[in-house]
């Protein structure tokens, strides 16, 4: 039973990336979607340096690219190709893990547009993750002390710095998890979660909640 089928929750709102059959992107297409999305986040200064040099030189980008390679490697059909690809991935993953301290299990399927903004103490081991997943530093997505299940995360989910989603929790689409929040109960869709343990601070979150610039900050 998925979160969207639960009648007690809010009705699901179709999100940008959740058209029913997800387009099967190639490895290069996925990496390009991640980098494009990260480039879009430099909303204030869209200079060549920010768009290309800075984005490509970041630790988070390296971790995402290596994760994409790893997921591509573990999903190869032929055994020989899989072993060779995993060996190549491991050679890249070990130094990148040392430098960036970002640990992502390559078996986790993550949709296109996956962005890691900052880079330390990130640990991601989920059942599956939707499109446009945004992660900051210190984020943990994984099993809890019971170690009997891992989270399922929808599309357009933003995790603030230090946020933790633990155990078999289903997080719906368009959820914003505030910094240092702990999510142990399914929050549903379109909401803002904060606190330890996480509580829903706002329902029916507007789609531009994170990118909205208040009037007194404009121009």
């Amino acid at each position: 039973m998925t979160m969207s089928q639960d009648p007690t929750r809010d009705p699901p709102v179709p999100s940008m990336g959740s058209s029913s059959p997800p387009p099967a992107l190639t490895l290069w297409g996925l990496i390009r979607s991640d980098i494009r999305r990260k480039q879009e986040h430099y909303v204030l200064v869209q200079r060549f340096f920010n768009k290309y040099v800075k984005v490509l030189a970041q630790h988070g980008t390296a971790a995402v690219v290596v994760y994409r390679l790893g997921h591509w490697a573990v999903t190869r059909q032929s055994r020989l190709a899989r072993v060779l690809a995993i060996a190549f991935y491991t050679c890249l993953a070990v130094p990148v893990r040392w430098i960036s301290r970002v640990v992502i299990d390559p078996r986790v399927p993550i949709g296109p547009g996956f962005v890691i903004h900052n880079f330390s103490a990130v640990y991601i081991d989920a059942e599956r993750i939707g499109d446009n997943f945004t992660v900051n530093q210190g984020v943990t997505v994984g099993p809890d002390f019971r170690r009997n299940g891992r989270p399922v995360i929808g599309s357009n989910v933003f995790l603030g710095a230090g946020a933790a989603i633990l155990g078999s929790v289903e997080v719906g689409d368009n959820v914003v998890v505030a910094a240092n929040a702990l999510v142990v109960k399914p929050p549903g869709t379109n909401c803002l979660v904060a606190g330890v343990p996480g509580m829903i601070l706002m329902r029916n979150l507007p789609p531009d909640y994170l990118t909205h610039v208040p009037a007194h900050h404009r121009g």
Binding site: W98, T140, F145, R146, R147, N148, G149, G162, L166, V196
Partner: protein, 221 residues
């Protein structure tokens, strides 16, 4: 005889440090549900195991009173300690007395200095166990304590046996046995029977032992 030669656990009294390492690695393999040679290699090559190894060595080296042996051993230990800090971001100081089967899951931002830590304790990334700045009172942790990612245990805190500190919690006061601390600052509630069994059983990752949970989690039925 062969058991004494080949089974490091039975050499525990002969060489405490390496015997403890055997238990640490076995417990970590259990928690990450890894098996066989590849699983052993993955666990042994992980940063957390390396940090625990350096801690065990340092704790053993600190016991040598004879300076001709003790000082070189401690020099080697401090080199290893700082290398571990730089490479993995794990700082488990040799001062604390840590029991058997101590596991560090993942790495980065781990700082552990306690008066005493019991057996079967598990620490995840982002955990701080230590003193409040300016005071010398250190926490005391009981057996079977699970510190989830990002939690902080500070000051002269006594934590009982079979305790879970949930992620991102801040523990500044004592926690009784068989309870769960959650919140910032932490509130304590007793563990349910189910949770206690899961904690004590150290159910492996994704419930490979209790296959029902595994199928449910993977959506395989």
């Amino acid at each position: 005889m062969s058991a004494i030669l080949w089974d490091p656990a039975s050499c525990y009294t002969a060489c405490r440090a390496w015997g403890s390492m055997y238990g640490d690695v076995r417990k970590k393999m259990e928690l990450e549900s890894r098996r066989g040679l590849l699983g052993w290699l993955a666990v042994v090559s992980s940063a957390g195991t390396f940090a625990v190894l350096v801690y065990r060595f340092g704790h053993w080296a600190n016991r040598w009173r004879f300076p001709l042996i003790g000082i070189p051993l401690r020099a080697v230990y401090f080199l290893g300690f700082y290398l571990v800090q730089i490479w993995t971001g794990i700082s488990v100081q040799a001062y604390s007395r840590i029991g058997k089967r101590f596991v560090i899951l993942n790495h980065t931002c781990i700082f552990v200095v306690a008066e005493r830590i019991g057996d079967d304790c598990t620490v995840c990334q982002g955990v701080t166990v230590g003193n409040i700045r300016g005071s010398k009172q250190l926490p005391v942790l009981g057996h079977n304590v699970f510190l989830e990612p990002g939690c902080k245990v500070l000051g002269s805190v006594t934590i009982g046996d079979n305790v879970v500190v949930r992620a991102n919690s801040l523990v500044l006061s004592d926690v009784p046995s068989d309870s769960m601390a959650v919140g910032n600052p932490a509130r304590v509630r007793p563990l349910t029977e189910d949770e206690r069994a899961q904690l004590l059983g150290s159910a492996p990752l994704n419930g490979l032992v209790n296959g029902q949970a595994n199928g449910q989690a993977n959506g395989q039925a």
